[in-house]
């Protein structure tokens, strides 16, 4: 039997038959640029910086994200808010997306939930310098993809069921003076969003 | 037409031969020899020996020279600054004798001899060059043919024995 199998190469033929028949099955290709992937909540796409609902910057420039970053792609230059002594903020915030490994450690390190990852996965540009994100660009991303960011935070920071809702992102998790950059923007009494507010936001979007 | 072709072939043959001997980079030597083989094959075609021409390319160019290239690359030889001997008097001696023979031959009335039966027309009637050679080879020269195949076999075995590691003790490492 074995000899005959070798001579007539039945096994090889079997394999070839399988491949041949496969030709007639429908393809499962997604025509990517025309059809986009539907990524789940909590997808780790491009980084973004978030603002409070009143428009003030969440980031307090604590550099913990920089310390947590395994690929050293974050650079925070912190300072006092001009005219507001003792209020700390990130004067400059640089994120080199070309070096980012999208691990999300920075968002976990962030004590004020200022960092969130969006669902944006199309990061290619014609000029590589554009991938050196600065603070402005990151906040822009955060505004453009606010829903992504909130969904991300919900998925990664809160949704394990064990967190007490009143702690969490709630009332006094971190007692920071919020950064007030806008003119006449009232200083919010509570920092951070409540869980309910976040869930409502996510449900809306 | 034929003359032009001949002189072209001859000239390239000579030049590439000279290059074969004189170039320093071994790979260039091989390439020059390759050129020379092709033009010798051309000469064969001029002499109505198409079969031999093709065989020349298959055997020399396709097998022998590739083997040379192989060895060159295995050994990774680089060009050597001191690549020439000072033994040219020997060469002159040999040239002298060959030239003397040639002169003798010319003096003796040029080259020639008994004209055989294998005229172009006769070869065509046999069905071509290939058939003619085949017929002769497998009838008149059967024994030499078998001897030649034996030689090849011996050479093959010899080559394998020489190069295969472990068959011969490689103790002479320095």
């Amino acid at each position: 039997m074995g000899l005959m199998r070798d001579i007539f190469m039945t096994e090889l033929m079997g394999g070839m038959k399988l491949v041949f028949l496969q030709m007639f099955k429908p393809s499962c290709t997604l025509q990517y640029p025309h059809v986009k992937h539907n990524v789940p909540d909590g997808y780790r796409g491009l980084m973004s910086l978030l603002r409070y609902e009143d428009g003030s910057e969440r980031c307090v420039g604590c550099s913990l994200c920089e310390a947590a970053c395994p690929s050293n792609c974050i650079k925070v230059v912190s300072d006092e808010v001009p005219g507001q002594p003792l209020v700390r903020y990130a004067k400059e915030y640089y994120l080199d997306i070309t070096r980012c490994v999208f691990c999300g450690f920075c968002t976990e390190a962030c004590p004020v939930d200022a960092l969130a990852m969006t669902k944006v996965y199309e990061a290619s540009v014609y000029d590589r310098r554009e991938l050196m994100f600065d603070k402005h660009k990151l906040y822009e991303l955060g505004e453009a993809h606010l829903a992504d960011g909130k969904a991300y935070l919900l998925a990664h920071n809160m949704d394990d069921g064990t967190l007490n809702p009143t702690e969490g992102l709630g009332d006094n998790r971190y007692e920071f003076p919020p950064v007030d950059l806008g003119e006449g923007v009232p200083v919010p009494t509570t920092v951070g969003l409540t869980r309910e507010a976040l869930e409502a936001e996510v449900a809306k979007s | 037409m034929m003359q032009v072709l001949f002189y072209y072939m001859a000239a390239v043959t000579v030049v590439s031969s000279v290059l074969t001997v004189t170039l320093k980079q071994p790979v260039y030597n091989v390439l020059a020899l390759l050129t020379m083989f092709f033009h010798v094959a051309g000469l064969y075609v001029l002499l109505n020996a198409e079969f031999l021409a093709v065989v020349q390319i298959i055997v020399y160019a396709g097998a022998i020279l590739v083997l040379y290239l192989f060895v060159l690359m295995l050994l990774n030889l680089r060009s050597d600054a001191r690549h020439m001997h000072r033994q040219w008097p020997f060469a002159v001696l040999i040239l002298g004798s060959v030239a003397a023979m040639l002169v003798g031959a010319f003096a003796g009335g040029g080259f020639g001899g008994e004209i055989g039966q294998y005229s172009t027309a006769y070869i065509d009637s046999l069905g071509g060059d290939t058939q003619a050679i085949g017929l002769t080879l497998y009838t008149d020269y059967l024994l030499p043919f078998e001897v030649a195949s034996l030689v090849l076999l011996v050479a093959m075995v010899g080559a394998i024995v020489l190069t295969k590691k472990g068959l011969v003790d490689d103790q002479v490492e320095d």
């Binding site: 090889l12 394999g15 070839m16 399988l18 491949v19 041949f20 496969q22 030709m23 007639f24 099955k25 429908p26 393809s27 499962c28 290709t29 025509q31 | 790979v27 390439l31 390759l34 198409e50 079969f51 093709v54 065989v55 390319i57 298959i58 160019a61 396709g62 097998a63 020279l65 590739v66 290239l69 192989f70 690359m73 295995l74 071509g128 060059d129 290939t130």
Partner: protein, 337 residues
Amino acid sequence: MELAMTVGLAVFQIAIVMGVVLLSVAYMTYAERKVLSFMQDRLGPMEVGPYGLLQPIADGLKLFFKEDIIPSSANKLIFAIAPIICLVPALIGFAVMPYNETYAAFGGEAGVISDLNVGLLYILAFASVGTYGVILAGWSSNSKYAMLGGLRCGAQIISYELALGLSIVGVLLLSGSLSLREITMAQDGGFWHWNILLQPVAFVTYVISAVAETNRLPFDMPEAESELVAGFFTEYTGMRFAFFFLAEYANMILVCCLASVLFLGGYEAPMEFLNFIPGFIWLAIKTWALLFFFIWIRGTFPRVRFDQLMKFGWKVLIPITLANILFTALGVYIYNN
């Protein structure tokens, strides 16, 4: 005048044949990508032109306009000529390929550029010259990957050329000629005259050797991307890279064409009543069927190891072909007497 006529005719024929061959090469790449895609539940090129039909042209243009980089430590002369050495033998073989019974348009006799009486040997001779391009490309790149690729390629081609040549000998014994046109004509009169029926073993060994000869999967050791990056043309870019690409596909078409001529009756129709279809179409159909087979096995089999490859060539294929020759010779002797 007559000379001019002959030369002109030859040039015209060459132009036609080369055009067809190069176009086939281009669309061979397309066909390969498409067929492989289908076999892998994908779609393949879809963007350039309808169903990606213009993809080969786009690729060609892209390669043409890419920068031609010569590595600084490469041997510049040889690096430059190696792709040409590789491509020319692959194209030159089509000179003796009979594509039609007659060449009616200009009153020519045979549908072949040059009906050489040692045509088969001619193809083999030039196929062996192609090895130089590969070896020299590998050597002149002055890169380890390229060097190893070149050496592997050389060894593989030399080894399988033997098996290829020997598997053809059976056909030669049957047809008694080295002229491809005569071999084709010997298979005239329906598919039951085709050599494949008399020489099935030779056909199989021929196809296997041909796959190895053209460095195709599963025998693409010289350019195995997972271990040698791209083998001997690792360092090549732009047009020179395209030359290697062209040579590979031209070689494939050449061996498939040769296989159809030697084993499948060339331009002959399988049945008498199908004679109204021109011969070159039959040749094309047979060749493309074989090319499809090439793609098919590429889609099916994994790459073999190099030592397995050499072992298979020397210890399996060559003995089989030798045995085939022996039996064929005996058969022919018995049949003739």
